[in-house]
Amino acid sequence: MSDAVLPAAAPSAVPAGGVAPRPAAGPWQTAARKLRQDRPAMVALLVLVLIVVACALAPAYARYASREDPFASNVDGSITLDGQSVPVLQAETAGLGLGLTPIGPTWHGQYFLGADSQGRDVMERLLYGGRTSLLIATVATVICLVLAGVVGLVAGFAGGVVDAVLSRLLDVLWAFPIYLLAISLSIVLINTTIQIGPISITSGSLALPMLIIGLVYVPYVARPVRGQVLALNRTDFVLAARALGVPPWRILVRDIFPNVTTTLIVFVPLMMALNMLTESALSFLSIGVQPPNASWGTIIEDGQSLIYTRPLVAIAPGLCIVATVLALNVLGDGVRDALDPRAKLRVS
């Protein structure tokens, strides 16, 4: 699960290339140095690393601090507080005295942030939910960038009919309101088992929101990539390669692709931020992550009914989303400034 660290940390670990005795400042080194000097971006990276580490430690927290199963309801449970046994779900004191109110924040190991309506530890679910949210955002980003990269490269490089078909397809997807497309796909697919070759996606699987979220943002990335490829097609070095008789696939791989990698990298943090917001919205509408799995979006949905009695259940995951997305956006700004693809585009 801690794989989720990699993409977030990737920009700082931009390959240094061959380390020569006297390093000539290549484009990657220049970008990495620029990024290291960008203080907000570095703070954002630190925040992200902290969040990822905290979420990765969720099982440890469950084992040593909260000592609860994050996915099983604990309606009849009770805990010992200041020497007294306190039920996790307490009878309501206000109003008619009907219904149950979950225990509020104890600020102790157990039920640090209180319980949700099913008596589960909110803090613990927050950490587990974070793992799900980060994982979905990361995998969806990879899916989106790979698909968009391929579509953009092929459309821009092949031109003609291929380009026309792919571009019209992107037009249709582009015009489709993102949330509605994601909702439509989720609602139809959420309870079915999909068989794609050897991979089988069962209902309630996390792979489904990953795929859907990855898919709906493809036009956002594919369009700029295609535009850049079209511009690269007319550059002298590509023309020279063609004139030398270099096979097209080789031009695509050796000359065109390296020049769009910066664009794709710039999209990584920004897409992760968007994906995280989309996942939370789908989960909030209960068509994203399915119970008993938790994500920050599903915890907000759980907390909706408790918003006036135990507001922390809904507020805490929201704050986690804001912190993560904000850090991703700040980092994204830093990465963009460091790689500055716009300046590069202007030169070509």
Binding site: P177, S184, I187, I194, I300, V322, V325
Partner: protein, 325 residues
């Protein structure tokens, strides 16, 4: 120019056709998404399933189903709900339109005013603390899930601070039509407007600032300075004017997307019975005609908005006009 407009309209029709096919395929031809099973219920016997399938025409070839569906959706407009049989889809959508339009219009006013203010202020103080502060606030606005912000706003204005003079004027959640009580309509929508607008204030402030700063590097700004014009005049009459082109086209797209379903989460949180809420209700009942109709309506609105933006853009900017023809 006329040729460009016609070409754009043809393209628009093509995209709409593509979307209608895509939506239809998603809901009626996805493997595993058997609409008859949805209608008949989970444990329906094969005979019941077959009857339902025949009743709704699902046993006919997919292209025929598509044509029939489109005919009922756009020509005869008598498509009815699968869940509440007899309830017509199109009138229900038309009825929910005013709520969605009220929400989006008001929010648009808020975000345009504040987006302009923030963008201009940040660009005027670029590099100094007001700029930094505004940009951080803008980024926070962009990073918040809108439904969560709505929940928090409800917590503050409906519960925790409702009995203080600040928020005692906020009415209970829900939508009052403008024609019924204009004052209540306004009071009930203020908090939803602000909630929905916050994200866009962030986006527009940032975009406008970037575009203004770019404009400041252009020759005509240097000329204006050389003429001895005041900084305020340079900003408002020269830099802002060109930057507004980006602003206006962005506005058209976002407005279209919001009316076309983007305001769905806000409508749900504030219990506003607009088109988005209608979609979510249909979603919970798995009422396919409703979902399909709202999704289709929404996408068409977005496509039309895009086309209008492109045409207006071409009319505004002579370079685009020349390139389009």
């Amino acid at each position: 120019m006329l040729l460009a407009v016609v070409r754009r309209l043809v393209q628009m029709a093509f995209v709409m056709l593509g979307i209608s096919i895509l939506v239809f395929l998603i809901f009626f031809a996805t493997p595993g998404a058997d609409p008859a099973a949805r209608i008949a219920g989970r444990n329906a016997s094969p005979e019941v399933l077959a009857a339902v399938r025949h009743d709704f025409g699902f046993d006919r070839p997919v292209p025929i189903q598509y044509v029939l569906m489109m005919k009922r959706l756009f020509v005869t407009r008598d498509l009815t709900s699968f869940v509440n049989r007899g309830e017509r889809v199109i009138p229900a959508i038309v009825e929910s339109m005013p709520a969605t339009l009220s929400l989006v219009f008001g929010a648009a006013v808020v975000w345009v005013v504040f987006g302009l203010l923030i963008g201009v202020l940040a660009a005027a103080t670029r590099g100094r603390w007001p700029d930094r502060l505004l940009m951080i606030l803008g980024l926070i606005g962009v990073s918040m899930p809108v439904f969560w912000l709505g929940e928090v706003a409800n917590l503050i204005t409906q519960d925790r601070y409702h009995d203080t003079p600040f928020f005692s004027w906020v009415p209970a959640l829900g939508y009052t039509p403008l024609t019924q009580d204009p004052f209540l309509w306004f009071k009930g929508l203020v908090i939803p407007w602000i909630t929905l607008a916050i994200l866009y204030i962030g986006i527009y402030g940032r975009v406008l600032r970037a575009s203004l700063i770019e404009a400041y590097q252009e020759d005509y700004i240097r000329t204006a300075r050389a003429k001895g014009l005041s900084e305020t005049r340079i900003m408002l009459r020269h830099a802002l004017r060109t930057s507004l082109i980006t602003f206006v086209s962005l506005f058209g797209l976002d407005f279209g997307a919001l009316v076309g379903g983007g305001a769905l989460l806000t409508e749900v949180v504030f219990d506003i019975h607009g088109v988005g809420k209608l979609t979510v209700e249909a979603l919970q009942n798995l009422d396919l005609p409703f979902i399909m109709a709202t999704v289709m309506y929404a996408s068409f609105f977005v496509v039309a908005a895009n086309a209008v933006v492109d045409i207006v853009y071409a009319a505004l900017d002579p370079r685009v006009r020349a390139a389009a023809t």
